[in-house]
């Protein structure tokens, strides 16, 4: 296989951008939906009434990440068919675990004496959650979101296999037609997407991190 510079540059500049946009969607939409599910569920699991379900729910989230997304698409094929939706669905399930796990860890890491003081001054459970527990656990939660984003950025390449599009389409075209330029260009763009998203989340994380933890 020869590597032609011209073809490589054309693959990067002409061919990649529309696929990159789809890829971005394949990452952001699942991560956002996963956050909207995993974060509140994990918060509930730290409440006294629901602690007993923690193991069961976390086992489910764990399975979401151990079962390959392609297998999930296969299982749900009769209901969802092929295309963008099943890809988004499978990637969402895949993205749940790091967010749920880190939210649990973040909330459990809030110092006992701080919670005791918050209860002691008469904060209700809800006030303590909103004003103390969530703000103090933000750095750990955001670290989980970051892991989810980076993992999903790579895994989303598989979306192309089920007609979901994304940078996978460029890479698999390169494999099918023996074009190493396409494979390298596709991989580079995925890497760039992962790095850029990681930077953006780091920035958000910095804004959400309480001052005493910024060191």
């Amino acid at each position: 296989m020869d590597f032609e510079m011209e073809r490589f540059i054309s693959a990067l500049i002409d061919r990649s951008p529309p696929h990159a946009l789809v890829h971005l969607q394949l990452v952001l939409i699942p991560v956002i939906i996963a956050f909207l599910i995993a974060f509140p569920v994990a918060v509930l699991l730290t409440r006294r009434r629901f602690v007993k379900y923690t193991d069961r729910v976390m086992t489910f989230f764990n399975m979401g990440q151990t079962i390959p997304p392609l297998a999930i698409i296969a299982v749900f094929f009769p209901f969802l068919g092929l295309g963008r939706e099943p890809a988004l669905f499978a990637l969402t399930i895949y993205a749940l675990l790091p967010i749920a796990r880190n939210t649990l860890a973040g909330l459990k890491g809030v110092p006992q004496e701080v919670k005791e003081a918050a209860r002691g001054v008469g904060m209700s459970e809800w006030e303590m959650l909103m004003r103390v527990e969530i703000p103090l656990s933000m750095p750990v939660v955001m670290a989980g979101v970051k892991i989810s984003v980076v993992l999903t950025s790579g895994t989303a390449a598989l979306g192309a296999l089920v007609g979901g599009g994304g940078m996978g389409a460029v890479i698999f075209a390169g494999i099918d037609f023996f074009r190493p330029e396409l494979i390298v260009a596709g991989t580079l763009v995925i890497g760039a997407i992962a790095i850029i998203l990681d930077r953006i989340i780091t920035l958000i994380d910095y804004m959400l991190t309480p001052p005493h933890m910024k060191m």
Partner: protein, 324 residues
């Protein structure tokens, strides 16, 4: 003011009660000190009073109202009770201002009332409000944090304060100063205070009333003088330690043993050692030693009312030891 009636607490998963059949009463405006070894249930009692812990059995009354009732909202109850926790527990992500203003904000005070109140409180606990108000807890020393913890508990001017080893995390010199300042404040505030310590000296210094605990049970309660002169058993004697007589000198006011014979007074005045009638006898002893004298003049305000000599102190010690 605060009454506990046969309170038991057995924590789930344990068989030995952390608190066993404890009953006592704290009178309005008094400091009641709970003292005993670590793990004897002091913190548990405080947390039962503000319902951070529900007792297994028994009742709690505050101002005659049964607060252990299901209908009483524990969050609202806690906003009426100042609580200084053992580990200080300032919110690390909030400034000193926000920490102190916690309860007023929960009680929805108007902001224009909160700002001056926070300043007033910080000055009251001996902090420079301009300097610390916008700082975060991690920027403060241990002593400053404890002062902020006390200011936070006082913020909404609660009639009742629960203080769990509030001066525990600082060195003895700072602790002594914090104790003095707090006693001075309490003279004006006249709050009803439950104060926990494992240090008998702190208990004697701070307490109007002392409750001695061991293994979840109330061993003895009474005024510091009663505890020192009539220890109920060996446990209390061990707790008091060997320097019981010295501690007693700290509890007796000079006015109680002053010799009002004016003739002696005339001879003594030149030596320039004076104490106040309200000072403990301990102070008379210290003043004598410092001035290498065996007699001091006792003043009540500007008026000289008499003298105390070494012999008077010795007589007192003999009397107090005889009582035990």
């Amino acid at each position: 003011m605060i009454v506990l009636d046969k309170v038991d607490k057995i924590f789930p998963g344990t068989t030995v009660p952390a608190v066993k059949q404890v009953s006592f009463q704290v009178d309005e405006g008094n400091i009641c000190v709970f003292v005993g070894p670590s793990g004897c249930g002091k913190t548990t009692i405080l947390r039962i009073i503000n319902r951070l812990i529900e007792p297994t059995s028994g009742d709690i009354y505050i101002k005659g109202k049964k607060v252990s009732d299901k209908e009483v909202n524990p969050d609202h109850l806690r906003r009426e009770i100042g609580y200084v926790i053992q580990q200080i527990g300032l919110l690390p992500h909030r400034t000193v201002e926000q920490n102190v203003a916690l309860v007023p904000r929960l009680l929805k005070w108007p902001e224009e009332r909160i700002k001056p109140r926070v300043k007033e409180l910080l000055d009251m606990v001996g902090l420079d409000s301009n300097e610390v108000i916008h700082k975060y807890p991690f920027q403060l020393s241990g002593g400053m944090m404890q002062r902020v913890g006390v200011a936070r508990a006082l913020a909404a001017d609660p009639p009742i304060m629960l203080m769990d080893e509030p001066f525990g995390a600082v060195d003895p010199i700072v602790r002594g100063r914090l104790q003095d300042e707090f006693l001075r404040l309490q003279k004006e505030m006249k709050k009803t205070i439950c104060f926990v310590t494992h240090d008998i000296n702190e208990a004697i210094k701070m307490g109007d009333h002392i409750v001695i605990m061991n293994k979840g049970e109330l061993v003895q309660h009474g005024t510091p003088m009663e505890i020192l002169t009539e220890p109920a058993n060996d446990f209390v004697k061990d707790l008091i330690g060997v320097d019981r007589e010295i501690k007693l000198l700290d509890l007796t006011r000079s006015s109680e043993i002053v010799d009002r014979n004016k003739e002696v007074l005339g001879e003594t005045r030149e030596k320039d050692c004076f104490i106040s009638a309200l000072d403990p006898v301990q102070r008379a002893l210290e003043t004598m030693m410092k001035n290498d004298s065996d007699i001091v003049v006792v003043r009540d305000g500007e008026k000289e009312i008499g003298t105390i000599c070494w012999g008077d102190i010795k007589k007192l010690i003999n009397k107090l030891s005889g009582e035990a």
